[in-house]
C-alpha cells in the first residue's frame, strides 16, 4: 500500500498540472456533449430512451465518444512518452474491454438475456464503459497502479484523478440504484431494461462530475498548504 501511494505521488509529478478551470471546462464540454446528444436524438432522429433505447444509447455513445476520449486524452498522464494519438488509441481500446466488464456485471446482477435484449445490453455497456473506463484508459493507458489506485482503493490524489474517479463511481452507483425501480408493478415503459438503469447511470455521471468539481475545489484550496509544508 505504501508502495502504491509512493508511486502515485511520483506519478503526480510527471503528470501535466491541470488547473481547476481546465477541469471545469472539461466537465462542461462532456456535459454539453451529453446535452447535444440528447438534443440530436430528440429533434433530428426523433427517438428517445423510452421508445428506442438501443438506438438512443448508441447515438449518445457515438456523439459522446470523440468528446470524452478527446478531452481526456489532452490531459493524459505522461504526455512526453505518450502522444495524443496513442492516448486516443488507449481510450478506444479501453471501451470494448470496459463494455465487456460492465455487461458481465449487469448479467451477474440480473440483466435479462435474450435476442430481444442483446442490442440494448451492448449499447448500454458501451455507454457505461465510455463513462467509466474510457477516461481512465486515455489518461493512464495501461498503468496498473494508477487503475488500482482509482478503482480499487478509490483514493484519488490529484485533479485528474478526481475528474476520472468520481464520475466513474457516480455512473456505477447511479446505474445500481437505477435498477431498483425495475421490478415495481407500475407498468411504465421506462421500467424496461436498460432504460431506468441508463437514466440512473447518466444522472450518477452528472452528479459525479459536479461532485468532482467540488472535491477539486477543496483539493485546490488545500494544495498551497501542502506545498508550504
Amino acid at each position: 500500500m505504501e508502495k502504491t501511494t509512493a508511486e502515485a505521488s511520483s506519478d503526480q509529478n510527471v503528470s501535466v498540472p491541470v488547473s481547476i478551470w481546465e477541469a471545469f471546462r472539461l466537465h462542461l464540454i462532456c456535459g454539453l456533449g451529453l446535452a447535444v446528444a440528447f438534443w440530436v436524438a430528440h429533434n433530428i432522429y426523433s427517438i428517445d430512451l423510452i421508445s428506442n433505447p438501443d438506438q438512443t444509447l448508441f447515438l449518445i455513445w457515438v456523439i459522446e465518444t470523440p468528446i470524452i476520449i478527446g478531452v481526456y486524452s489532452i490531459s493524459r498522464w505522461n504526455p512526453k512518452q505518450c502522444s495524443f494519438l496513442k492516448a486516443v488509441g488507449h481510450g478506444l481500446l479501453g471501451i470494448p474491454a470496459g463494455a465487456f466488464l460492465n455487461a458481465f456485471g449487469a448479467i451477474v446482477l440480473g440483466a435479462p438475456i435474450g435476442f430481444l435484449y442483446i442490442k440494448r445490453t451492448i449499447s448500454w455497456s458501451l455507454l457505461m464503459s465510455l463513462f467509466t473506463f474510457a477516461p481512465a484508459a486515455s489518461v493512464f493507458g495501461s498503468s496498473w497502479n494508477n487503475w488500482q489506485r482509482l478503482f480499487v482503493y478509490a483514493k484519488p490524489a490529484g485533479i485528474v484523478d478526481y475528474m476520472i474517479c468520481l464520475p466513474a463511481h457516480g455512473t456505477v452507483i447511479g446505474a445500481w440504484l437505477g435498477a431498483w425501480p425495475m421490478p415495481l408493478d407500475w407498468e411504465r415503459p421506462w421500467q424496461e431494461w436498460p432504460i431506468s438503469v441508463s437514466y440512473g447511470a447518466i444522472a450518477g455521471y452528472i452528479i459525479g462530475m459536479v461532485a468532482s468539481l467540488g472535491f477539486i475545489f477543496m483539493f485546490d484550496r488545500r494544495r498551497p498548504h501542502v506545498k508550504g509544508d
Partner: protein, 980 residues
C-alpha cells in the same frame, strides 16, 4: 472445569432467550393477524329437524336423536326418516331442478344496466339477455348485487358459497395439500339427499369435491393465458345436458372472464368478446329452459342462477376486500310466471328509471346466504356450518312455484297469498335460526379459540326473544288454522312481520359477530407482537455486543473492530433487503432481489480481492456461480408466473436442442449421479485428512456414501433407463427412500449419543474437531435433503458447496488486512451466507406461496398419507437447502478462518466467534422477518394481502422460528467441546 462450563452456559443462554422472545412475539402477532377458524366435522341430517322448535307437534317428527358428528354414516337412517315423513326434509322443496352457471370474476357492472353507473364503459350492457329477462313485464327474474367476503380468491369463494361460512386464510382442519372441503357443505347435502349433481368447467370444483359429482367434465384452470379451453368445454356439454334428465343440479363454471381480466384487464377487447360470447350462450340456455317449462315438461320447476364468485378490479386483480372485488352479481330466474310478492320490509331493491321510463331494479344479497337459500329451495338440510340467512327475494322468486296451485284452487286474494308466503318464510327462518344457533353452540364448545362469552350471551338473548315470539304468536296461528286469519288478518300479518324481523335480527347479529371474528384484525395483538419483536432485536444486538466484549476482555489480542467499509456494506445490504419487503413487487421478485444483492457483494469482494491481489479465482468463480444461479431462479420464477409456454421452451429449445434426443436424456440421467460421486469424494477427502474421531468417521463416511449410492439407485429406478422388472421397481420405489431416511435418522441419533459419551481430551486441535463435527452433521442431513429435492438436488448441493467454499475463502480477505491478528467476525461474509441461503430457497424451485410447496416431495417413499410424517418430509424439503444446511454449516465460517493451530486461548476465541456468527446470522434473519411483519401490518388492507403478503409472512415466520431452533440446537451441539 466449572468455570468453563459456566462460560458455555453464558454463551448459550442468549440463543434461548431470543427464541422465546420470537415465539411470544409471533404468537401474539399471528393471533391478531392470521384469523383462524376451526372446521367442524359435524354434518346436518334430515332427522335433526326434530330437535328444532319450529314444528308445532312433536308427534309429526320422529324422535330419533341423531348425533351429527360422523360424516359418513348418513344414508340408512336418513333415507328411512325421509320416507316416514314423506318427501319433506327440512323445508318444503320449492324447486325440482337447479341450473347454476358460475361466471368467474363477474363484476357487478357486467350484469347491471349502465344507468346505475356514472358513465357507460365499453364492458357494460354486454349481457343484454339477463337485463331483458329481469326487466320484462311479468318475468320472474331478478338481478342481485352479491356481496362476497374477502379473501376473494376463487377457491375460498367456492368454499364460502358451498359451506355458507366465512373461510379464513387458514382454516384449521385436517385437509393438507389437497383443498378438499371436509366441512358440511351444500354439495354434500345434495348428494346425501339423493340429488344428482352434474359439474362442468373449472376443475377447482373437483379439487374441492373429489367424489361428490354424479358426472363431471372438468377442464384445467391452471393456465391463465388460455381463455377458451374451459369455456369451450362448458359450452360443449352445457346445452346437450339441458335436454337430459339424469341430473338435478347442474353447475357450469366458466373461467374466460377471469383469465381475460388477469391478462388484458377489464377494459379490453378480449373481455368484451368474452362477455358477448356469454350473452349468446345464456340466450340459448334460457331459450331451452323456457321451451321446456310447460306443465309436465323437463324444466317445469327449474331454477336458473347465473352468478359470479367474486368481482375484479379494472386491472383484473382480485383477492382483497375492495368494493370492486367484493361486488359481484347474481341473476336468478324461475321458470314460473308469477312470483310471490315480497313485503316492503324485506325488499332491498334499488330502482331507477331508464330513458324509456321503464323501471329497473336490483336487489342485494350476501354470498354468505347462498348455500342456505339454495338448500331451502331444494329442500335439503342446511349445511351445518352455514351462518347465512335464507334470502327473501330469491326465496320469493321460486316460492311462487308452489303457491300457484293453492291460489288457483282456493281463489284467494292477494293478501292471503302474501300471508301464506310470509308464514312459510317465517317457518324457514325459524329452521334457519335454529341451525345457526346450533352451529354457534357447537363451535364455541369445540373450538380452541371460540367466541367471547359476552358476544355469545348477546346472541343467546336475541335468540331466546325470537323463540319466545314464535311460540307465542305464530304457533298459535299455525294451530288455529286458516279460519281465524280473515278476522284478525292485520294483526297476524304484523306479528308475522315482527317474527321475521326478530329472526333476521338474530341472523344478522350472528353474521356480524362471525365477520368480526373471522375477517377483522386485532390491532392490539398485532401491535404487541411487533413491539416484542423489535425488543427482541434490541436484545439480539446487545447479546452480539456482549459476545464481542467477552471476546475482547478475555483475549486482548483481538483487535477492536472499527467500522470498516465491509461492515457498512453488510449493514447496507441487509437494510436494502429488509426495506424491499415494503412493496409487493419486491416480495414477488424476492429471489431476484436476493441474487442482485448477492451479486453486489460478489462484486465488492472482487474489488477487495484485487486490492489484496489474491484469491481472484474465487471471487470470479463466485460471480459466475451467481450468474448461473440467477438463471435458475428466473426459470423458477417463470414457473410461478404460470407462463408454461416459456417454461417448457426456455432452457433447451432456445438453443435448438431436441430434448428427447437420446444424448440429452442420457446426460440428464448421468450428470446427477456423477455429482453424487463428487460429493462422496469430497466427503471422503475432508474427513480422511484429520486424525480425530477415527471410528466415527469411518461409520459416517460409509453410511453416507451408502445412502448416496441408494439415491443413485432411486433415480435410476425412477427413470426408464434401465430395464427393471416391475416387482423390483415396486419394492425399490418405496423402500430405497425409506432406507435413506432411516440412515439419516440413525446418524443423527449416533451424533447425539456421541455427544453424551464423548472421549475426553484426546485431541488438542479443536478447530479440526469442529470441522469434523460440522461435516458429520451436514452429511447426516444431506442424503435426506438431496433425495427430497429430487433431481435438481445435485445442482443445488453443488452450487451451495462451491458458493459456500468461495465465501469462506473470501472471508480471509479481511483477516489479512488485520495483519495476521485474529480478525473480528466478518459481517459481510455472514450476510453473504444468509443471502445465499435465501437464493437457495428460490433455487430449489420454491417461492413464498402455498402453491410453491412441492407436495409431491412429501410422498417420496410413502404412498399413504399420515399428517405428521408427510408434514415433516415437506418441511425438510422446503427448508432443507435454505435453512437447515446453511445454519448447520455456519461453523465453517469460523473454523476455516483460523489458519494457525489452536492453542488453549485460541480455542476460547473459536467458540466466542462461533457464537458471534450464530448471533449475527440470527440477527439478519430476525431483522428481515421483523420488516416483513411491519410491512404486513402496514399493508393489511392491501389488495394482495391474502394472495401475497400473508403467505410471505407465514413462510418468513416459520423460517425465523426454524432458524432460531436450529441455532439453539447447533449452539448446544457445537459448543460441547468448550468445557474440556
Amino acid at each position: 472445569m466449572a468455570g468453563s462450563s459456566n462460560e458455555k452456559r453464558r454463551l448459550i443462554w442468549p440463543f434461548f432467550l431470543i427464541l422465546i422472545l420470537h415465539c411470544v412475539a409471533i404468537l401474539l402477532f399471528t393471533r391478531g393477524f392470521l384469523l383462524t377458524r376451526t372446521e367442524l366435522s359435524s354434518f346436518s341430517h334430515c332427522a335433526d329437524i326434530s330437535q328444532s322448535p319450529c314444528f308445532p307437534s312433536p308427534l309429526e317428527a320422529p324422535s330419533t336423536c341423531s348425533s351429527s358428528s360422523s360424516p359418513r354414516n348418513f344414508s340408512e337412517t336418513d333415507r328411512v326418516n325421509r320416507h316416514e315423513r314423506g318427501e319433506r326434509c327440512w323445508t318444503k322443496p320449492a324447486i325440482d331442478r337447479l341450473v347454476i352457471i358460475v361466471l368467474d370474476a363477474l363484476r357487478f357492472d357486467f350484469v347491471a344496466p349502465s344507468i346505475f353507473f356514472d358513465e357507460k364503459k365499453p364492458w357494460m350492457d354486454k349481457l343484454k339477455v339477463l337485463q331483458k329477462l329481469a326487466y320484462d313485464k311479468g318475468s320472474s327474474a331478478r338481478i342481485f348485487k352479491a356481496l362476497a367476503d374477502p379473501p376473494t380468491t376463487s377457491l375460498q369463494r367456492l368454499k364460502g358459497l358451498t359451506t355458507g361460512g366465512l373461510p379464513t386464510f387458514i382454516d384449521v382442519g385436517n385437509s393438507f395439500g389437497a383443498p378438499a372441503i371436509v366441512e358440511d357443505n351444500l354439495i354434500h347435502q345434495l348428494v346425501q339427499n339423493g340429488k344428482r349433481v352434474l359439474m362442468m368447467g373449472d376443475d377447482t370444483w373437483l379439487q374441492l369435491f373429489p367424489d361428490h359429482f354424479e358426472k363431471s367434465y372438468p377442464y384445467p384452470s391452471f393456465n391463465v393465458k388460455d381463455l377458451h379451453t374451459v369455456d369451450d368445454g362448458c359450452i360443449k356439454h352445457l346445452l346437450p345436458s339441458l335436454y337430459r334428465e339424469d341430473w338435478d343440479v347442474l353447475i357450469a363454471h366458466f373461467l374466460g372472464v377471469d383469465h381475460a381480466g388477469h391478462i388484458f384487464g377489464v377494459d379490453s377487447s378480449p373481455m368484451v368478446e368474452k362477455l358477448e360470447q356469454y350473452n349468446a350462450i345464456l340466450e340459448k340456455v334460457t331459450e331451452v329452459l323456457k321451451n321446456q317449462s310447460g306443465p309436465g315438461d323437463l324444466h317445469e320447476n327449474t331454477f336458473l342462477l347465473v352468478m359470479g364468485d367474486h368481482g375484479q378490479t379494472t386491472n383484473g386483480d382480485h383477492g382483497g376486500g375492495t368494493a370492486e372485488e367484493v361486488e359481484t352479481s347474481l341473476f336468478a330466474m324461475s321458470m314460473k310466471k308469477s312470483p310471490a310478492s315480497v313485503p316492503a320490509a324485506l325488499d332491498s331493491s334499488v330502482c331507477k328509471l331508464d330513458l324509456d321510463g321503464n323501471k329497473m331494479c336490483f336487489s342485494f344479497v350476501q354470498q354468505l346466504d347462498f348455500a342456505v337459500t339454495v338448500a331451502a329451495l331444494l329442500g335439503v338440510p342446511f349445511p351445518f356450518g352455514s351462518i347465512g340467512r335464507v334470502n327473501p327475494e330469491i326465496y320469493a322468486l321460486a316460492a311462487g312455484t308452489w303457491n300457484q296451485q293453492s291460489t288457483t284452487n282456493t281463489n284467494c286474494k292477494d293478501w292471503l297469498n302474501l300471508e301464506e308466503w310470509m308464514q312459510n318464510y317465517a317457518h324457514v327462518l325459524c329452521i334457519n335460526s335454529w341451525q345457526v344457533k346450533r352451529y354457534i353452540d357447537v363451535y364455541s364448545a369445540s373450538s380452541v379459540i371460540g367466541f367471547s362469552s359476552e358476544d355469545l350471551l348477546h346472541v343467546e338473548e336475541i335468540y331466546a326473544q325470537a323463540l319466545n315470539n314464535w311460540s307465542n304468536s305464530v304457533q298459535k296461528s299455525f294451530l288455529s288454522g286458516q279460519e281465524t286469519l280473515n278476522d284478525n288478518f292485520a294483526s297476524t300479518l304484523s306479528s308475522l312481520e315482527g317474527q321475521i324481523n326478530t329472526y333476521s335480527n338474530f341472523l344478522a347479529s350472528v353474521a356480524e359477530l362471525a365477520r368480526s371474528k373471522w375477517t377483522e384484525f386485532d390491532l392490539w395483538m398485532m401491535g404487541a407482537g411487533i413491539g416484542i419483536m423489535l425488543f427482541s432485536l434490541l436484545v439480539h444486538f446487545i447479546a452480539f455486543r456482549r459476545a464481542h466484549m467477552l471476546c475482547q476482555a478475555t483475549y486482548p489480542s483481538v483487535r477492536a473492530s472499527g467500522i470498516s467499509s465491509r461492515v457498512v456494506f453488510a449493514v447496507f445490504m441487509v437494510a436494502m433487503r429488509a426495506c424491499s419487503f415494503l412493496s409487493n413487487s419486491y416480495i414477488l421478485t424476492e429471489g431476484k432481489v436476493a441474487n442482485f444483492l448477492l451479486g453486489t457483494t460478489g462484486i465488492l469482494n472482487l474489488r477487495y480481492s484485487i486490492m489484496e491481489n489474491k484469491m481472484l479465482t474465487e471471487a470470479v468463480a463466485f460471480l459466475l456461480l451467481i450468474s448461473i444461479s440467477r438463471f435458475i431462479v428466473e426459470i423458477g420464477l417463470s414457473k410461478q408466473a404460470v407462463s408454461a409456454m416459456l417454461m417448457s421452451t426456455y432452457p433447451l429449445r432456445m438453443l435448438g436442442i431436441d430434448e428427447s434426443h437420446f444424448f440429452w436424456v442420457f446426460i440428464s440421467e448421468i450428470v446427477p449421479i456423477l455429482a453424487l460421486v463428487f460429493l462422496a469424494y469430497l466427503l471422503y477427502t475432508t474427513t480422511s485428512g484429520s486424525s480425530c474421531w477415527r471410528v466415527f468417521k469411518i461409520i459416517f463416511t460409509t453410511a453416507t456414501v451408502l445412502s448416496y449410492m441408494l439415491i443413485a439407485v432411486h433415480w435410476a429406478l425412477e427413470s426408464n433407463m434401465l430395464e427393471i422388472p416391475l416387482v423390483l421397481e415396486g419394492i425399490g420405489r418405496n423402500s430405497v427412500p425409506r432406507i435413506i431416511y432411516a440412515i439419516g435418522c440413525g446418524l443423527l441419533v449416533l451424533l447425539a449419543v456421541a455427544q453424551l459419551f464423548k472421549q475426553k481430551g484426546k485431541t488438542s486441535d479443536y478447530k479440526e474437531v469442529l470441522v469434523i463435527k460440522t461435516v458429520t452433521m451436514l452429511s447426516a442431513w444431506s442424503s435426506t435433503i438431496i433425495i427430497l429435492l429430487g433431481r435438481q438436488g445435485f445442482l443445488v448441493s453443488l452450487v451451495s458447496i462451491i458458493a459456500g467454499w468461495c465465501i469462506i475463502r473470501l472471508e480471509n480477505l479481511e483477516q489479512d488486512t488485520m495483519n495476521g491478528f485474529i480478525g473480528a467476525t466478518d459481517i459481510l461474509s455472514v450476510t453473504q451466507w444468509s443471502l445465499l441461503a435465501v437464493s437457495l430457497f428460490y433455487l430449489t424451485g420454491h417461492w413464498c406461496a402455498f402453491d410453491g410447496l412441492r407436495y409431491g416431495a412429501a410422498f417420496i417413499g410413502f404412498d399413504e398419507f399420515i399428517l405428521v410424517r408427510q408434514a415433516i418430509l415437506l418441511a425438510i424439503e422446503t427448508f432443507g437447502a435454505s435453512h437447515i444446511l446453511p445454519i448447520l454449516a455456519l461453523p465453517f465460517l469460523v473454523s476455516f478462518k483460523h489458519q494457525c493451530c489452536g492453542s488453549n486461548k485460541k480455542r476460547g476465541t473459536l467458540f466466542i466467534k462461533l457464537s458471534q456468527v450464530l448471533l449475527m446470522y440470527g440477527l439478519i434473519t430476525a431483522v428481515t422477518t421483523s420488516l416483513t411483519i411491519v410491512c404486513v401490518t402496514i399493508q393489511r388492507r392491501h389488495l394482495m394481502v391474502w394472495g401475497l403478503f400473508a403467505p410471505k409472512f407465514v413462510f418468513d415466520v416459520v423460517g425465523l422460528l426454524l432458524t432460531d431452533v436450529l441455532i439453539c440446537l447447533s449452539s448446544i451441539y457445537y459448543f460441547s467441546g468448550i468445557d474440556e
